[in-house]
């Protein structure tokens, strides 16, 4: 446990010091993007990993927040007001979507989230008077939280890192809380949980709303980073990419989605600069991961490490 704490401190120090080492803006911006997607993936994993509810519409919360924030800033509510309204609006949409999607379980849940996500996308794409369709909307300028200027690449990275750290800590605490245990119980043994007097539906719905809330925070960071939102950011591809991050890294572990976000974002950026066949590659990674690595990287590596550390223990158990 202590070793873990030291490792975490070293990692935190390294992340904070990153802008001093990496002075190239491109790579620093890439790091900010990774943090944003990692937060989105971690929030989705609350549903996928801890709740056992595979959602294919999670990017819609990123989009709802980003669009709402942009529109409200345009209508003159000010940065803080727009941010608050956007997150509240998107979380409320999450509450509604949760009610609808939780009418079904398993594949039905997946289908309904997919349909809802596509509807959000369709509205963004078709409602020209509001969203300007395919052209997307510009966000005027990054805000100045507490008077701090976050317009440069390093300052924005630190801002994103701070939000990311707070969010991930809160989500991590949540997964360790009685609520987290109840959520996992509802995933594994819904009938027993009901017998014990838990309201399984309510637990799963709350998880959905919380996932939507943290996804909305990621959406806010997204629009601050890009200063632009278009339907492409909330297409099915995006929702699938985020889901792939969680599954590739390992949905059963807390760190998995973060590792997945790092890998997918890096591969996407590297590949996109050489060839424009990213979607084929995305599809191929999907197929390969599901066929050959169903539990993802982090649990897989952990298993390997455990075997490497205590090689004698496995035959003992077998005997």
């Amino acid at each position: 446990m202590r070793r873990g704490a030291v490792a975490l401190l070293v990692l935190a120090a390294a992340l904070i010091a990153l802008p001093f080492v990496v002075t190239n803006e491109f790579y620093l911006n890439l790091a900010s993007q990774i943090l944003i997607y990692a937060l989105l993936a971690v929030s989705l994993n609350l549903l996928v990993g801890y709740g056992g509810l595979v959602s294919l519409g999670h990017a819609s919360f990123l989009g709802l927040t980003a669009y709402a924030a942009t529109l409200f800033v345009g209508w003159g509510t000010g940065q803080l007001g727009a941010a608050l309204i956007a997150v509240v609006f998107s979380t409320l949409c999450g509450a509604l979507f949760g009610v609808l999607a939780l009418r079904a379980t398993g594949i039905g849940f997946l289908m309904i989230t997919l349909a809802l996500g596509q509807i959000v996308w369709g509205i963004a794409y078709r409602a020209n008077t509001l969203t300007d369709g395919d052209n997307g909307l510009r966000y005027p300028a990054r805000p100045r939280p507490f008077g701090l200027d976050i317009s440069s690449a390093p300052t924005f990275y630190w801002f994103t890192l701070a939000v990311f750290a707070i969010a991930v800590f809160v989500i991590w605490r949540l997964t360790r809380s009685p609520f987290g245990a109840a959520l996992q119980g509802a995933r594994d043994q819904p009938r027993r949980m009901r017998m014990l007097g838990h309201n399984v539906w309510l637990i799963q719905w709350l998880a959905f709303v919380l996932a939507a809330f943290w996804g909305s925070i990621a959406g806010l960071l997204y629009v601050y980073y890009n200063l632009f939102i278009s339907p492409h950011a909330i297409s099915l591809q995006q929702s699938a990419e985020v889901l792939l991050m969680a599954i590739l890294g390992g949905a059963s572990s807390f760190a998995g989605p973060i590792v997945g976000a790092v890998i997918i974002t890096l591969v996407k950026n590297v590949v996109s600069s050489y060839v424009d066949r990213w979607n084929s590659l995305l599809g191929a990674i999907f197929v390969v991961v599901i066929l050959f690595m169903p539990f993802g990287i982090v649990p897989g590596v952990r298993q390997l490490l455990a075997r490497w550390r205590k090689p004698a223990k496995i035959p003992e158990r077998a005997a």
């Binding site: 595979v54 309904i112 997919l114 509807i119 020209n128 297409s235 979607n279 084929s280 599901i290 066929l291």
Partner: protein, 286 residues
């Protein structure tokens, strides 16, 4: 008046097209318990195959047949080589169909470029039918007719043949069906292939109305999903009713409130989910 009549007719014709898209999707979903998320991709492939065959001078009906067979073949290969590996892992299967849908979309973009391909309706069907002062597009009526014939054929297949009885048994209780010796896994291939053939045919038949363009798959897949959410998975009648409901809503939505067309689709889905989560005619309890 002209507007309403023409739009109503267009809606019915579009509903027929949706039935070709979603009947196979719904049957495969009912039997295999998975929505094939590459189904929109199959439809788009059908449209591109049709566009290619007619581009090289092929007859339109030959193109319909060719794309049905071509897409059906792809469906068989996909089911046998990939989905089969994941038997029992429903979630994995769905995600694999999603992965394959991205590959199909990207390959289509690579092969047929980003520009839309138009397909001309067969020459003999281009002049509109005139009736009491109104002009109806003949081709759309023919598509509707094909959809209705398909619906009757599927009904007879499901209701009157041994194969259909086996499929219904598999949809209702797979374990028991296996237990009495029905080759359910072979039925998987048959039904999946049937869905792919229908999507392929539908793609080419729809191409003169919709064109073949990148993103056609993403436009059609949600419609198929909503049809199945409305009608219930595995129900032919549900797919039939759902297709025409969605056809009407979508067509009138686009004509009257273009900004809100998707939102209008959302309403019946919400109502059905809240009051009848199994869908209107659903058989599968998932």
């Amino acid at each position: 008046m002209q507007f309403w009549i023409v739009q109503t007719l267009n809606s019915i014709a579009f509903g027929g097209l949706l039935f070709l898209l979603s009947s196979g999707f719904s049957l495969a979903f009912g039997l295999m318990r998975i929505p094939n998320l590459a189904h929109g991709g199959f439809f788009m492939l059908g449209a591109y195959f049709g566009a290619t065959i007619t581009y090289f001078g092929g007859n339109f009906w030959l193109a319909v047949l060719g794309s049905g067979l071509g897409v059906g073949l792809i469906g068989i290969v996909f089911e046998r080589l990939i989905l089969r590996q994941l038997a029992g892992n429903v979630q994995g299967q769905v995600l694999v169909t999603l992965g394959v849908s991205f590959i199909i979309a990207d390959l289509c973009l690579m092969i047929w470029t980003g520009d839309p391909w138009t397909v001309a309706a067969p020459a003999e069907l281009r002049p509109p039918i005139r009736l009491g002062g109104f002009a109806f597009p003949t081709f759309r009526l023919v598509v509707l007719g094909i959809a209705l014939v398909t619906a009757v054929a599927l009904y007879l297949l499901m209701d009157r043949t041994r194969l259909g009885a086996m499929i219904r048994a598999g949809v209702d209780d797979m374990e028991m069906a296996r237990g009495v010796g029905i080759p359910v896994s072979l039925l998987f291939t048959v039904v999946f292939c049937l869905g792919a053939v229908l999507a392929g045919l539908g793609g080419t038949l729809g191409a003169p109305m919709l064109n073949a363009y990148p993103g056609l798959d993403a436009d059609m897949l949600p419609l198929a999903l909503i049809v199945v959410i409305l009608g219930g998975a595995g129900s032919l009648l549900g797919a039939f009713v759902g297709s025409f409901v969605v056809g009407f809503l979508y067509n009138f939505g686009i004509a009257l409130f273009p900004d809100l067309a998707y939102f209008i689709l959302f309403l019946p889905m919400v109502l059905v989910l809240v009051f009848m989560p199994q869908g209107l005619f659903g058989r599968v309890i998932s």
